[in-house]
């Protein structure tokens, strides 16, 4: 019993420091991927709680931050797994939004003159990008985030979302068209 009490009080002491040092970063990391504030907050809370409970596994091989991000990424994937959408993606209807009857682009397609390396650190651009990602529907967003940001393979994403490869490709294609348009309209024009 005394041992348990000791670890419990240690956990309590650790919370405030962990929250103080990492909550903000973890929250923004999660928000970029799940798009909703309340969900991001819940995931951060679960992450920190899981970290406290498995404190003995933290070997100090990586930084505390890296370790926490690792747990956070698992929690985000868990969330995607629990909230996967089985909505079928209709080929025909959404294409009309981007292409006319002859199959030509409806969008203007301006030239994007910017350097990705500096642009991604631009705070105003970050806000625009974040808002554009938030606009993606859940069907597209989960697939897109896992593929383009979490660097999961096609097979892993299909398995986790329980969808076919074709279905994944259509989701990604649609997400790319939408994100491209959003960035162009809100930043590059």
């Amino acid at each position: 019993m005394p041992r348990e009490n000791k670890s419990a009080s240690n956990a309590h002491q650790n919370i405030d420091r962990l929250v103080q040092q990492h909550a903000r970063t973890l929250y923004l990391y999660a928000l970029t991927r799940v798009g909703k504030q309340d969900i991001a907050e819940d995931i951060v809370q679960d992450t920190l709680l899981a970290a406290l409970q498995s404190w003995q596994n933290f070997a100090g091989k990586s930084s505390e931050r890296t370790w926490l991000i690792g747990i956070l990424r698992h929690k985000i994937l868990d969330f995607f797994r629990q909230h996967r959408s089985h909505e079928s993606v209709d080929e025909q209807s959404w294409q009309k939004e981007y292409f006319d009857k002859a199959g030509h682009w409806k969008d203007k397609m301006v030239s994007w003159k910017a350097d990705p390396e500096t642009l991604v650190e631009n705070v105003e651009f970050r806000k625009v990008l974040q808002d554009c990602l938030k606009e993606l529907s859940r069907v597209m967003a989960q697939a897109f985030v896992m593929r383009e940001m979490e660097d999961k393979s096609t097979e892993e994403v299909c398995k986790l979302l329980e969808i076919s490869q074709t279905n994944l490709w259509v989701r990604l294609h649609r997400a790319r068209l939408q994100l491209r348009r959003c960035l162009e309209l809100n930043w590059f024009i």
């Binding site: 419990a8 956990a11 309590h12 919370i15 405030d16 929250v19 103080q20 909550a23 903000r24 970063t25 973890l26 929250y27 923004l28 990391y29 928000l31 970029t32 907050e41 951060v44 809370q45 920190l48 709680l49 406290l52 931050r65 890296t66 294409q95 981007y98 292409f99 002859a102 199959g103 030509h104 682009w105 397609m109 030239s111 994007w112 990705p116 390396e117 642009l119 991604v120 650190e121 705070v123 105003e124 970050r126 806000k127 990008l129 974040q130 383009e148 940001m149 979490e150 660097d151 096609t154 994944l168 490709w169 990604l172 294609h173 790319r176 068209l177 994100l179 491209r180 960035l183 162009e184």
Partner: protein, 104 residues
């Protein structure tokens, strides 16, 4: 055989932007087959819009893989979360975790 070749040639010469954009996107996932790859190359030669699209997808990939780095989330973006909001957030999260630990 002849019929298939003919069909492929028609496909290669008549590819539309909606089809081309799809091939550009799919090519990021897995290699295209021969007919698709010829069709796309030919289309890109003659279509400035799709050339731009291809470039922009590459740009987005680059940006998004950079956005994946955790280091970036230390950059303060006040429009995403002001220091005041961050403080409230910290308070809420702390409180909830303390409660959860107590109830275990």
């Amino acid at each position: 055989m002849v019929r298939k070749t003919f069909k492929n040639i028609v496909f290669i010469l008549t590819l539309r932007c909606d089809q081309a954009s799809r091939l550009i996107s799919y090519s990021q996932e897995s290699p295209l087959n021969k007919a698709e790859s010829w069709a796309l190359s030919f289309h890109l030669l003659i279509c400035r819009m799709c050339r731009k699209y291809k470039k922009q997808l590459k740009f987005m990939r680059d940006i998004l893989s950079r956005l994946a780095e955790s280091r970036l989330y230390d950059i303060i973006v006040p429009s995403l979360l002001t220091e005041e909001q961050a403080e409230t957030l910290r308070g809420r999260i702390s409180k909830k975790i303390h409660e959860k630990l107590d109830s275990m």
